[in-house]
């Protein structure tokens, strides 16, 4: 008995022994956020003080709003409730969806899992890493699921790169869009890292598809580095500089950071409720750090979660704030792009 209390001395007040931690995931089973949660679940049980059972509760619906609102209303602050967040949960907040009742920017993030976006085109349309031929085209079609999703950022990206012919084709999922791209019906396409490796890389090796750019990996100090999966492809800031003849700065840079935080850095996240105490947040962060040192985690993480290291600690909170609260200039930039393409939807 005395041995037990000795072990948990670091977190004298926090012990989850005999408790059940409920991990609310506002998506259906099988999706990316669910897979992320399932992968972390056993490690969390192993390293949280008292080894609580961790159960995942899926509440899909309403474009992730239903489950997120449920968490806001029902989560206890004692560390027995955690939240599985993703880009779309953040975008709902950032774009001011009136149905949102959750105060995401105040939540206490434990772990962020970054992602990255790759853009590419057919090899008969452009040289690798070069947009000039694309910019000459009258019509450049690309897939856009709905303007009320993270796909909205594509509109802004193409706008800033001066692709005048860019025209979104609505209602295409990334997989459906990629199929249409392979059939030659659309010209520009993009994928996240996992599908890029699985589906796009083989086509690049066959010579049918060429890389254009990646979103770039944003560091804690704001520096942007290239994506290790496509090290030769320029990042968006590099491409912006090449096309516009000036560095990415000012309002455009601010918008890029906001988009990068929502889309890339906080692609998946595990969070505690806003009123969780510092001790509980610390217990969770400690468990997360121990998890990343676990040999089993190290062996499986790259395959299950992708090549980008987890973000743990205070830095994560800053990223979530940046992602969830868009400044008025960023909103105006996005709305200008929406207006130009005759969308009625507006970021609020």
């Amino acid at each position: 008995m005395s041995l037990f209390s000795f072990v948990s001395i670091g977190n004298a007040d926090v012990n989850f022994a005999g408790k059940t931690v409920t991990w609310v995931v506002p998506f259906k089973e099988g999706g990316g956020t669910s897979r992320f949660a399932r992968f972390i679940q056993p490690f969390l049980k192993k390293y949280l003080p008292g080894n609580p059972d961790v159960q995942i509760m899926h509440i899909p619906g309403g474009g992730a709003i239903k489950g997120s609102n449920y968490f806001e209303k029902n989560a206890k602050a004692d560390g027995t409730f955690i939240f599985g967040c993703s880009t779309s949960v953040i975008v709902n907040v950032a774009t001011g969806n009136p149905l949102v009742k959750y105060n995401l920017s105040e939540y206490r993030p434990v772990v962020l899992l970054p992602q990255n976006t790759h853009w590419f085109t057919r090899s008969d349309l452009a040289e690798p890493h070069d947009l000039s031929k694309i910019k000459e085209r009258k019509l450049v079609l690309y897939a856009l699921k709905t303007p009320a999703s993270a796909d909205l950022f594509h509109i802004w990206i193409y706008e800033k790169l001066g692709i005048k012919g860019a025209k979104p084709i609505p209602g295409l999922s990334s997989s459906g869009g990629y199929q249409a791209f392979l059939r030659g019906e659309i010209h520009l396409s993009s994928h996240g890292a996992a599908n890029y490796v699985k589906k796009v890389k083989p086509e690049i090796e066959k010579g049918k598809v060429v890389d254009l750019m990646t979103l770039g990996i944003i560091g804690a100090d704001g520096s942007v580095s290239r994506n290790p999966l496509a090290p030769n492809a320029p990042t968006f800031p590099e491409m912006y500089e090449k096309v516009n003849g000036k560095k990415l700065e000012g309002d455009d840079l601010e918008a890029y950071y906001a988009i990068g935080a929502a889309w890339s850095q906080a692609s998946k996240a595990m969070m505690l409720p806003a009123d969780a105490s510092d001790e509980i947040v610390k217990a969770y962060r400690d468990a997360a750090i121990k998890m990343t040192n676990d040999p089993e985690f190290k062996a499986k993480a790259v395959k299950a979660l992708g090549p980008f290291p987890l973000i743990i600690g205070e830095e994560a909170g800053e990223i979530i704030k940046k992602a969830a609260v868009f400044s008025d200039t960023t909103k105006n930039q996005l709305n200008a792009a929406l207006k130009k393409h005759k969308f009625t939807y507006r970021v609020q």
Binding site: H58, G61, S175
Partner: protein
């Protein structure tokens, strides 16, 4: 080839086999229950599959679908009632054979024909997977758009008793499917500012409401047709010999079944008739048909099992359902996170092979169980409906709640239940409504996508032209072949009710136009165009009905005679069915007050005792057994029971509907 074998080995892992077996058993049971088929069976398991691993879920779902058309022969042969829509033609000769004391011969012939047909279907499916990539690449937005539209037209034209009512059903389904967020602009359409309608009604709710509820009240209404005695002992060997002798017929009908199944949207309800009429046309001596010719059992049974493999082709490679129950299968794909299309033949090829093997093995298992345990299974048809019905209602409610744990889903279930009951009674097409509902967003998106990429030029692309010709030819051929049901308008009572019903139906398109007219044109163009078409169809049907009722003279030309056929339809006693339907509403209220476990126990006991006062022993046993099953399911899958109002005041344990953990 390596992957093909790897998938087979994967399937023979004990867990996979267990899920496949569980699915097959459920499929056999829903097949035996008259009227219940793959659609209801799959709708019952869908709320639970998404806690499973994708490969387990697929094995289970295919397990449910494959054997329904095997076991549906029991009621068709023994009682003269088709077990699923796919065995209507089996009744023609199967029931007379049974009356002649040759039930065993008919059953064994049917099971072995089903087995061969099913395996043939799986074989054709696996071959077509090899050629799928070029097909997918040749089908751009324009071709897919045409394929979907043609699928809808065919379903509408061929699954309804009346061509115009069938097509109108389709459009009503499309309109209901357009409820929710407009895909292009994100505007809410017809949602009345509720979060529930923002994503549209869940597919499982629609499936259970349209198919399961009407069949249950239908069964309760037709309590008379229970088999009195069963003689299934002798003649098994004769049946097997019949199939061997008619091997070429089995092959032809399986091919036919596969082809019809592969036509998008078509399947279940027509394939058995097509096989039967093919048999009649190719046979010299037709004198015994309808009186107990064994070939009349072999032909539809081999075709209706073969169609499953065929119907999976468009389902897997385009995400366009090959038949009604594939709509639910596609819904299941969404739940477990796999997307039909190119992925199914590239990165997810292992899952596709797993489905093919599951299909073949489920057919073998199903036929094997049916033959091996025929006398036990045939006793199942002796169970009175008033015992089956409340159990099924409880299962449906349990499944419905576990889709989203949302009470609104019960309202959705009962609303689609009453739509299903009226559609079934008044001769509108439920498969067309379901497929229209499912394909609605696809039609809308494809029309925008086609317009953006091609404009109208897609119509002149070679594949498009082939598709249009194929579709027109099918409709013309099949409407000619369609079985004449000896329709007599003068025998139908209560025609006025059906006329009022159309006026109720008119409210849907009218209100849709009203509520969406203020939106952006990209958000309301689709629902308003659909509504206008639906309105014109409904008004036309209304005119024909009134003319038929008053016996007006302008009906006496070829076109109007065609339009008039089966314009009124009534099956069973509508008022009786409404009575049973209202008892379900009572059950919902009990749920709301007491929570599900208590309400279910009360409902089952009251329902059974109402029909048979002496049956209290069985009613108590049945409710107890059902609760034990549901309790173990819940603790296994961490599901929750609906908890009622009293749960707010008293802290109930979870097994009485209290909160988990």
């Amino acid at each position: 080839m390596e992957q093909l074998l790897a998938a087979l080995f994967q399937l023979f892992e004990p867990t996979h086999l267990a899920f496949l077996f569980a699915g097959t058993l459920l499929g056999l049971i829903v097949g035996i229950l008259p009227g219940m088929g793959g659609t209801s069976g799959l709708a019952l398991v869908l709320p639970f599959v998404f806690t499973m691993e994708p490969s387990h879920a697929l094995a289970m779902m295919i397990g449910v679908l494959a054997p329904t058309t095997t076991s549906d022969t029991f009621p068709a042969v023994l009682m003269g009632v088709p077990g699923t829509a796919g065995s209507q033609a089996t009744v023609m000769d199967g029931f007379p054979l049974s009356k002649k004391g040759m039930a065993a011969r008919a059953l064994s012939a049917a099971f072995s024909a089903s087995l061969l047909g099913g395996i043939f279907g799986a074989f054709i499916l696996s071959i077509s997977i090899y050629y799928a990539i070029p097909i997918i690449m040749a089908f751009g937005f324009g071709e897919q758009f045409l394929l979907v539209v043609l699928a809808l037209l065919m379903v509408g034209a061929l699954t309804g008793d009346n061509l115009f009512k069938g097509i109108a059903s389709c459009f009503l389904g499309l309109i209901i499917g357009s409820i929710g967020t407009a895909p292009i602009t994100g505007d809410p359409r017809y949602t009345f500012n509720t979060l529930y309608l923002l994503e549209g009604v869940p597919l499982v709710v629609v499936g259970l409401g349209l198919f399961a509820i009407p069949e249950i009240v239908g069964l309760l209404d037709s309590k008379g047709s229970i088999a009195k005695s069963l003689n299934t002992k002798k003649g098994w060997f004769t049946g097997l010999k019949d199939v061997v002798k008619n091997w070429f017929l089995v092959l032809r009908c399986s091919t036919l079944g596969c082809l019809v199944g592969a036509l998008p949207g078509l399947g279940g309800t027509v394939v058995d008739w097509i096989a039967y009429s093919h048999l009649k046309q190719t046979t010299k001596d037709t004198s015994q048909f309808g009186k107990g010719d064994i070939r009349g059992v072999i032909a539809p049974e081999s075709a209706n099992n073969a169609k499953e493999g065929g119907a999976l082709i468009p389902t897997l490679i385009f995400g366009i359902p090959g038949s009604g129950n594939k709509v639910l299968l596609l819904g299941g794909f969404v739940l477990i996170g796999i997307e039909p299309g190119l992925d199914m033949v590239t990165t997810n090829l292992d899952l596709t092979y797993l489905m093919i093997w599951s299909l073949a093995i489920a057919n073998i298992l199903g036929a094997g169980i049916c033959m091996g345990f025929s006398s036990q299974i045939s006793k199942f048809t002796l169970v009175p409906y008033y015992i089956l019905a409340p159990v099924m209602v409880c299962l449906i409610f349990f499944a419905t709640f576990n889709i989203n744990r949302d009470w609104y889903d019960f309202i959705g279930l009962l609303s689609f239940g009453i739509i299903g009951i009226t559609f079934k009674n008044f001769g509108w097409s439920r498969p067309a409504l379901l497929i229209g509902f499912f394909l609605s967003s696809k039609v809308e998106l494809l029309s925008y996508q086609t317009q953006a990429v091609y404009g109208l030029s897609f119509l002149s692309r070679p594949v498009s032209i082939i598709l249009i010709i194929l579709c027109l030819a099918t409709i013309v051929l099949l409407t000619k072949q369609k079985f004449d049901s000896n329709y007599r308008s003068d025998l139908i009572k209560g025609k006025l009710t059906q006329i009022y019903y159309i006026i109720i139906l008119l409210c849907l398109p009218l209100s849709m136009i009203w509520f969406t007219s203020s939106l952006d044109y990209r958000a309301n163009l689709f629902p308003i165009s659909l509504s206008v078409i639906a309105l014109s169809l409904l008004v036309f049907i209304l005119i024909v009905k009134i003319a038929d009722l008053k016996n007006l003279s302008f009906l006496n030309n070829t076109f109007m005679r065609f339009a008039r056929s089966n314009i009124f339809e009534i099956s069973g006693n509508f008022n009786n069915q409404l009575f049973y339907y209202f008892s379900f509403i009572g059950f919902l209220l009990m749920n709301f007050i007491f929570g599900f476990p208590i309400a279910a126990a009360i409902f089952i006991n009251i329902f059974i005792l109402f029909h048979n006062r002496k049956a209290y022993v069985s009613s108590i046993c049945i409710s107890a057994v059902l609760m034990v099953i549901l309790w173990s399911l819940s603790s296994l899958l961490t599901l929750q029971f609906p908890n009622g109002l009293i749960g707010l005041f008293i802290d109930l344990p979870w097994w009485l509907g209290g909160q988990l953990n």
